[in-house]
Point group: none
Chain length 189, copies 4
């Protein structure tokens, strides 16, 4: 039941937004009463918190696996990009909430989640830094800014990409890996 509530909440939050989704909406969507919701969650915020935490924890775990298993820094970046893009299909709504609704958490919870999100980004930064030193990436890159740029490319796709449209998730991932690695210019200046 708790799982059920979470699952339906995620879909609703993604469709209408956290503030715009009422507990009534959630419980109506699975035919139980509000009391039931509060039997499983102490508050609406706690539900959002759980969704956030579960998502980022999962992401961090899988990022860790990539960082440990793959050797070249280029391959690590490729792995992380593909990780995010592939989630579009399997975790779509979860991700869309994750990338939007954080304002509605209490300050202390925002902090907790922010730390984990930063950890994810800092890992990307570290790969870039190491890869620059190893000569795999260009020397004049600012790791921090470029990490944000890469995450911008991938995360932004959660705003518009339709996994069941013309372009498949695989194709998108390949294109973005190529874009990130090579840019768009036809030949070096």
């Amino acid at each position: 039941m708790k799982e059920e509530l979470t699952k339906h909440s995620v879909v609703l939050f993604q469709q209408k937004g956290f503030s715009e989704t009422s507990i009534q909406d959630i419980v109506d969507s699975i035919g139980v009463t509000k009391g039931t919701f509060y039997y499983y969650f102490t508050s609406k915020e706690m539900l959002l918190m759980e969704i956030h935490e579960r998502y980022i924890d999962d992401l961090l775990n899988r990022q860790k696996a990539i960082l440990e298993q793959i050797e070249s820094y280029r391959a690590k970046i490729v792995g992380i990009v593909k990780l995010i893009i592939h989630d579009l299909q399997t975790q779509g709504p979860n991700g869309r909430i994750y990338f939007r609704e954080m304002r509605n958490l209490a300050p202390e919870n925002v902090e907790k989640i922010k730390k984990k999100r930063e950890a994810f980004r800092l890992n990307v930064e570290q790969v870039l830094r190491d890869g620059i030193q190893a000569g795999e990436f260009r020397e004049n890159l600012q790791p921090k800014m470029i990490a944000f740029a890469i995450l911008g490319v991938t995360n932004w796709s959660y705003q518009w990409f339709n996994p069941s449209g013309d372009v498949s998730v695989q194709e998108l991932a390949d294109m973005y890996v190529d874009f990130i690695l090579n840019g768009i210019i036809s030949e070096r200046d």
Copy 2:
């Protein structure tokens, strides 16, 4: 007064979100009463609509100028990237609302705004398409997806970039132009 209301609304919406900002909050921030608000706006949604429309119209105008005045396609892309990034400083709050709060518009209004946002993106797409044909950009690019990638890099910065931090808006813009044009890889494989 209408201007005043809009300006303060933008700041509040950006800080707390549209749903989380009450009309009371808005009018309190400039010391008038709710009646006054409804003298100038027919509804809270209409205010949001105006903010959106004004922002995207302005963006489209300036994009148009770039497209018309600059010759090379590379330069056009550079121009558009710099346009978005520079707005971080001058239009920060406006942009942040623009990139987030669209859910709260009625379907017909969403459609209206969406069309204009698409126009902006389609212009980027067109530049890419033309640039590919002209040999300025790599041939194997999918213009649509790459347009989204470029906008991802730039728009995402509205989520985290602090214009008064270590890195200036100019520096960020330069870095992102470089990233978009050249990617991160050190040398072609």
Copy 3:
């Protein structure tokens, strides 16, 4: 278990009030679940009813003993005053509920308790009436009003007296006996 539930309820009711204490609070305080509560009590009101009834029945019994065993009417009054005041220490919380929470009983239960409370008071009244006739008390007293006055002095102490403070229960009882018998004036006019 029933005893356990009652005992903890009494303490909680006294601390927070009947309406402000939830069944959850009660069962949490002894580590069982709500189901258990409803196994032993048909409703929250019934618990309150039992507390009230038990308290007043006990009080009536002990009042009866005093009325039967002691001869002089003055001594009977002294006995009753001491009975109430001494309960402050042994029955504190019980008494405090008794003197406050009756509103939350159903009308028919209120009636039942009220009758017993009245019986207690009427016994005081009777002692006064008999004592006046026997010349032990002043002639111009209205027994009913004076009974209320005496109970006011004693019962009110449940609102403020701290049995473990400077003044002991014994001292308070002695003072109040003296006050009730002699008043405060220094000499007869």
Copy 4:
């Protein structure tokens, strides 16, 4: 309207208790909506706070007048007793709330009211102390405890006395003045 709301609230609180009276009950009783209530009061607690404060402030003012205008200490005590008893008629419901519902205020507000209530009692204590020294009252009295006893007699009447019954407020006041001054015993032992 605010006055109206307060007046009806007082009656309802007295009849059913604070927790047992809903905002809906209050607004229904004068045919407005809940929104109206919250236009005038920031919370239910604030309403209770206002009732308390208004009542105790008024009481303190009138007590002050008595303390200043009347010379003998006996007369001062008589004045205070009559003040409280007479309020039964004019302020009945207000008083009944005052003597019961304080648990529902936030700690800081409880403190504020408690201080004022204590001031009232301490004034009685002071009169007793001065009166003892002046020889108007018996020497062996403990002012603090006796102050509580006197207030017990008077305040308790708010629990049972019906001003429109057999005994008038004046008669009750006279009886209680007599009781407090002389006690009930027929002759000294």
